[in-house]
């Protein structure tokens, strides 16, 4: 378990980050220890050329698309940065199965084949059975189903896989243990180690795809990226059979959230993407519609997984278009518009990664 090493790695990084590093960009392979040098090297052009060449080799012209589906925003966690946090007085909703079906059919008709089901954490309003049955329903329409939800046990993941689950998205949010405490005031999610270990329960249960990430802005972003790299490095060594993605969600404004966060400029975020792609050429970079159109256009081809035409509120596609969003989206192109744009750029928008 990565939780066994995380404290030592964190300590090492906090010390090491103060030193100067360099890296030779002409190398063919980059290893985990190159992360410092890569983040301090300003030759983004050379890095980008290398990354795009690798991506062509490994992913060809494919861009994998998916869309999120929020089914319940009830939540008992107190995550200071989230629009759905327990203390927020918002319009709480939980879709019933008929409503879920309606949203599923809408998404299916847009042409998407991979959905990401999201729910808040609430033992009554989004219990395990509810999640499991949603997956069983979704399997009727979609080839690929992922979830982004609360921590489950290995046994529970096994049940979901039987029902059709393919992938799990779970962000540590911040790898900095002190800050983690500061931002996660109460609720089951406030257990830092449990959160970290959940990923490995999902893998041991047999999921095919894992997406990890940090919510950039909660802690020093450089530290966060280096920790993320170490986490990925560990997972790849320990469980090489899984298909991995990394996300870099930048914190966004949300309802009743005070902005006290680090800012990450576009160019720096691109730098992060390039550095990680050089060390891990075979993993996907996943970019959501949090980012605006211009930025998404810029990273297309560097990022190989992208969400599209997303509603980040419960029932947001067909039922309750004005309910509270988890965060504001910034790229509001329709499926067709984004499809056409990808093709125009010489890439192939693919909705199928499994069957």
């Amino acid at each position: 378990m990565f939780s066994k090493y995380v404290d030592n790695i964190s300590k090492y990084i906090k010390n090491e980050i103060k030193n100067k590093h360099s890296v030779n960009l002409n190398k063919e392979f980059f290893l985990i220890n190159d992360i410092f040098g890569l983040l301090e090297n300003s030759d983004l052009r050379t890095m980008a050329k290398k990354v795009i060449k690798n991506n062509k080799k490994y992913f060809g012209n494919n861009i994998f698309l998916y869309a999120p589906l929020y089914i319940s925003n009830y939540c008992i966690n107190g995550c200071k940065y989230c629009g759905f946090k327990a203390l927020n007085k918002i319009d709480r909703r939980k879709l019933n199965y008929d409503e879920i079906e309606k949203e599923l059919i809408y998404l299916k008709n847009t042409g998407i084949d991979h959905i990401l089901i999201l729910t808040g954490e609430d033992p009554i309003n989004s219990d395990f059975e509810y999640l499991n049955y949603t997956i069983i329903m979704a399997k009727k329409y979609f080839k690929e189903i992922s979830i982004e939800t609360y921590s489950l046990s290995q046994k529970e993941y096994e049940i979901l896989i039987n029902s059709g689950l393919i992938g799990v998205t779970l962000y540590q949010e911040t790898y900095d243990k002190e800050n983690y405490k500061k931002y996660h005031l109460f609720g089951p999610k406030s257990d830092y180690y449990k959160r970290l270990e959940t990923i490995e329960y999902a893998i041991k249960a047999g999921v095919r795809e894992i997406n990890i990430g940090a919510l950039l802005g909660l802690s020093n972003p450089d530290y966060e990226i280096i920790m993320l790299a170490h986490h990925m490095n560990y997972l790849l060594k320990e469980y090489p059979e899984v298909e991995y993605s990394i996300s870099f969600p930048r914190i966004k404004n949300a309802y009743n959230v005070k902005n006290e966060f680090f800012t990450i400029k576009d160019k720096r975020l691109i730098h992060y993407i390039l550095a990680l792609k050089l060390i891990f050429p075979r993993i996907h970079i996943n970019i959501s519609t949090r980012e605006n159109k211009e930025f998404r256009n810029a990273v297309l081809g560097f990022a190989t997984k992208m969400s599209v035409a997303s509603a980040t509120n419960v029932g947001g596609y067909t039922l309750y278009k004005n309910s509270t969003k988890q965060f504001e989206t910034d790229d509001n192109r329709t499926f067709e518009e984004f499809f056409d744009y990808i093709k125009k750029r010489g890439y192939y928008p693919t909705t199928v990664n499994w069957f």
């Binding site: 080799k57 998407i112 080839k143 899984v242 890439y347 069957f355």
Partner: protein, 255 residues
């Protein structure tokens, strides 16, 4: 050109093409037509129809389709994919690709050995993608494989025929047909494999991401032909020094 027989099918174009990674299906279709490609592999997980992407099968008109089990992590999953593929693509040819290493994409020979048996028992003609190891090759053949598909280099690397010396052993040792699969980046790599007696070469990345995939597929097909023809005509061995005409031989010839 002389045809080569794989599982009872006479195949003339000995360059086999993978169908992934193309910009769009029309480019792929044109490449298949213009280079007269006869065998393609189709990954089952890409073949299924979705309402945004039309089915790849509408763009493929070839002699034989080989279902690719990519995505399978063990023999049972490979069988499941082969069955689904057979239904969709009407073919019993299966490229067994079992990978448990997403970093280097190295084939899992042990699971592949099991899959050879499982799929052969279920009536499939198997083409195992494998690391060229003599013991594993023997087991695959014992388990029903009449063809082996050793890698030339790790998938997608375009590094060429880096496993040549190991593949030579397989060619010497077994009667199974040998198709070099993966890592092939240039037409000269294709020729190199065919010149030593390999029976076909399969590639995808190098052609699909070329600036002009159609020209590139033609080049690869011609290279396969050239290499095969050279092999059939008996390539003279390379010598390290000039023979027979050297005065030294006069001395050797004397009593």
């Amino acid at each position: 050109m002389v045809d080569i027989n794989f599982y009872g099918e006479e195949i003339n174009n000995l360059f086999f093409m993978g169908t992934g990674k193309f910009r769009d299906y029309n480019v792929m279709k044109k490449a298949i037509e213009e280079a007269k490609i006869e065998v393609v592999t189709v990954a089952m997980r890409r073949a299924s129809y979705s309402n945004m992407n039309e089915s790849i099968l509408d763009y493929i008109n070839v002699k034989k389709i080989m279902v690719n089990t990519s995505g399978a992590r063990n023999a049972e999953e490979a069988l499941l994919i082969a069955k689904a593929g057979k239904e969709l693509m009407k073919t019993d040819w299966v490229k067994i690709e079992i990978i448990n290493d997403t970093k280097y994409l190295m084939p899992d020979n042990q699971e592949t050995i099991k899959a050879c048996k499982l799929l052969t028992d279920n009536g499939f003609k198997v083409f195992p993608y494998m690391y060229p190891d003599i013991y594993d090759a023997r087991k695959m053949i014992e388990n029903g494989a009449e063809v082996l598909m050793p890698l030339g280099a790790p998938i997608g690397t375009n590094k060429g025929f880096t496993t040549k010396e190991l593949v030579k052993i397989l060619l010497n040792e077994f009667d199974a047909k040998i198709i070099i699969d993966a890592g092939i980046g240039k037409p000269s790599h294709v020729s190199e494999a065919m010149e030593i007696g390999c029976h076909a070469v399969l590639a995808n990345t190098a052609v699909s991401i070329a600036d002009d995939p159609i020209k590139m597929v033609k080049a690869f097909s011609l290279a396969a032909q050239a290499g095969h023809l050279a092999y059939l005509s008996g390539i003279p061995e390379e010598n390290d020094f000039a023979e027979a005409s050297s005065p030294l031989f006069d001395y050797i010839g004397r009593d």
